[in-house]
């Protein structure tokens, strides 16, 4: 068994100075072998034990283009890899809507909820 430990470095390049990207790495059997986030500089380094073909999915948390990207990598455990992803601002920034949200009680039709929060997290279309 080799004493060398291979690893993958993902570098996400973007105009954002504080970019933060979500990473998922899947092996050939669609099993997740790594899940995490980049540091604020857009870089993440991690070990992967399994060899063979892997898919590296990266999702931008801010409004960047593309919103998500995938690269395929044939991985040997005793080697080092650096994979680059390039993001940019949308050429056409998505429009915004001044929206009103109404929250009522499901079992008492129309009864307004007195106070609370609704949180909306963007997901890829």
């Amino acid at each position: 068994m080799s004493d060398k430990r291979g690893y993958i470095t993902v570098r996400c390049l973007s105009p954002c100075t504080e970019g933060n990207f979500e990473i998922v790495v899947l092996d050939a059997d669609d099993q997740t072998v790594f899940q995490g986030k980049t540091a604020r500089d857009g870089t993440a380094t991690f070990h992967v034990c399994s060899s063979g073909e892997h898919r590296i999915r990266v999702r931008a948390k801010d409004w960047l283009s593309p919103m998500a990207a995938t690269k395929w990598l044939f991985f040997y455990p005793n080697r080092f890899y650096t994979v680059y992803f390039l993001f940019n601002f949308f050429l056409l920034k998505p429009g915004s809507t001044m929206a009103t949200f109404r929250l009522t009680d499901q079992n008492y039709g129309g009864l307004p909820i007195q106070k609370g929060d609704i949180q909306l997290c963007r997901v890829p279309m």
Partner: protein, 181 residues
């Protein structure tokens, strides 16, 4: 403001300027089952300015109706209540007390702290029983709570009927009918 957007809801409504797109929706509402938010995903698009969501609670409020307002009192069957908001507007189906005098509001909010106020009022009783129709309120800290409600028998009243032209002359026999307004 970038995603995630947090929209503060007061009296059932909140507003925010949000970029068009697809969103996963979660709720943080005291006293309610936040996992019940419906819908849990929403597409925000130009031309649609209002979005409706619902949440559900899992508590039960029992109103125990007796003539005396005591746990061991004489049960009243048929007393009717309705849930309201703080402005006395009614919502949902009325509930009616059954054998044993219990009427139950299902799916009401509760929490050890931070639960919203529950408003309700009585709209009917039965027979010769009086009731208080004013708006009542409470906050539930446990999933089931019971409130004792008194619907006492109406007081015995004496009605006098005399001749309008012969002061004090009692009418020998007859009936008076009183219809509630």
């Amino acid at each position: 403001m970038p995603s995630p957007y947090v929209v503060n809801i007061i009296d059932g409504e909140g507003s925010s300027r949000i970029l068009n797109g697809s969103y996963a929706v979660t709720a943080d509402v005291g006293g309610y089952d936040n996992a019940s938010i419906n819908p849990d995903s929403q597409v925000i698009s130009a031309g649609t300015d209002t979005y409706d969501f619902m949440v559900a609670a899992t508590g039960t409020l029992t109103l125990h109706v007796t003539e005396e307002g005591d746990p061991g009192g004489t049960a009243i069957v048929g007393a009717t209540f309705v849930r309201c908001d703080s402005g006395n507007t009614a919502y949902g189906d009325p509930i009616v007390s059954v054998a044993g005098g219990n009427a139950e509001f299902p799916f009401v909010p509760f929490a050890a702290s931070g639960a919203p106020t529950i408003y309700y009022r009585q709209t009917l009783s039965v027979g010769d029983h009086e009731f208080d129709a004013s708006l009542k309120s409470l906050t539930m800290t446990t999933s089931t709570e019971t409130v004792e409600v008194a619907n006492p028998l109406a007081a015995l009243r004496t009605i006098n009927l005399t001749d309008a032209n012969y002061n004090g002359l009692p009418i020998e026999t007859g009936d008076l009918t009183f219809t509630a307004n």
